[in-house]
Subunit: 317 residues, 2 copies
Amino acid sequence: MRIPTFDDVLAAHARIAPHIHRTPVLTSAYLDAATGAGLHFKCENLQKAGAFKARGASNAVFGLDDAAAARGVATHSSGNHGLSLSYAAGRRGIPCTVVMPRTAPQAKKDAVAGYGGRVVECEPSTSSREAVFARVVAETGAEFVHPYNDPRVIAGQATCARELLEQVPGLDAVIAPIGGGGMISGTCLTLSALAPAIRVYAAEPEQADDAARSFRAGRIIADDAPETVADGLKVPLRDLTWHFVRTGVTDILTVPEAAIVEAMKTVWKRMKIVIEPSSAVPLAAILANPGVFRGLRVGVIVTGGNVDLDRLPWIQG
Amino acid sequence: MRIPTFDDVLAAHARIAPHIHRTPVLTSAYLDAATGAGLHFKCENLQKAGAFKARGASNAVFGLDDAAAARGVATHSSGNHGLSLSYAAGRRGIPCTVVMPRTAPQAKKDAVAGYGGRVVECEPSTSSREAVFARVVAETGAEFVHPYNDPRVIAGQATCARELLEQVPGLDAVIAPIGGGGMISGTCLTLSALAPAIRVYAAEPEQADDAARSFRAGRIIADDAPETVADGLKVPLRDLTWHFVRTGVTDILTVPEAAIVEAMKTVWKRMKIVIEPSSAVPLAAILANPGVFRGLRVGVIVTGGNVDLDRLPWIQG
């Protein structure tokens, strides 16, 4: 396990700057009044490929030497990481293979293909996914880029907090959703180097609260198949992200499903931005814990905006 | 008829700056590739009260002397102007009355009340609206602020194009939706003073194409009750806005309903911002007229983001 350092973050930022957006920070007088806090939303939903994952994926792709790059990259995320890796590989002009269950929504397969990635289907089981992925790597020599448990990916995600600190002086706290822990790890990495007094909160669905339970237990607890509307947050911590969570996080706050959907709709309605359910989890946690955040200047990381617009969680289909 | 000048725009901008957002300009690599143009979206959906109308309303409200201000303001728009006037009056701490048909959606009445405005209901007819409105003005002495045919309002809307020119150098064209013509008039006013070579396109629903027909006929043509998903664009030109349309607009492009809905959904999906149907009309016009815009650097004014999130036009309810 190689733990990335802040020098890795600086190198990552220089490497990926031409390929990512320096995303804007938005505020809402309505939400400030509702929470008694000063909320500064770092809008990674406006990032390339619609999520912060473009940062880590771009750092991994553009950090490869020419020989490795020529063999391409591969992953088995059917979510934002698969999209982002396809985006980054497309920018560099190298192959990208994404292994996805054949049962994944066609829209997700189309989105990967839209960025130039190649979709290889597996059966919807871990054993099939691992077998198919191993065959892809054996055949292509592609570099595996894990969605979060990879120092290159964490150093890339850490560039988001660096921008936030430049954009919003005087923060008291930063809050981000936690699934596998890539964004939280990058946030801890940057803040520990630049502003160690800023508190780092992670927010998690009650129905997928493995990180909160891990945090309290002092060891990684992984759930089998949690169900939550925040589908980006179902994956467990791994050794590298656990290191940052264990050493850098102030607390992990959990919220019920209805509060996530309500917070998501509130952001759409009042801030006029499209955010995915996972991105609403931090606001739901702030609204549910007013005493923790009242009077504070808080950076809220809006992680992504990739939503199926034909199926919104507050509209019965 | 007093035609506002660019000096009025400069005074308006200084007056309203503390009360409005300098909204960001967003770009989309996807839409640039789709259109062959360089599109720069001026995001007034992120404006206070969710629409550019906060500019003109704030200019009217904050331009009143203390005696007039104490009597308050009034209007009869049930759309974004009613909201925005309530917002501006609330900022100044003066009364605002909005006359609305009793049949208007409760959500719109609640939104006005949420900004501190007082809703007075009338029957859903022009005669009732005029009678009720006259009674309100007689009783309160409130200053009538028309949604668009008012030099103070046009000077306020004109501050949007001024910001756009500062944010995006080298524009070849600007395009905005046209309903009553307030935003287009403000745009013509600013560009004629600062950058007269920039072309001004107006975009309009085919089903509410009175401005396009007026433009071709050389005189104002008003339709009775046009039906379009772009509900902000149903109102006719008036003398002041007709002056700017007649003298400053390069062309008016019309688009069918399905193209408006498709463009709206595309912006939500690719740009991750919530825009109302009216705001999608310019992009629909660009997509329908690629030869007009290809190779140009185009400012696209996204006029607002006030949408009923429970009833989206691409989801059958």
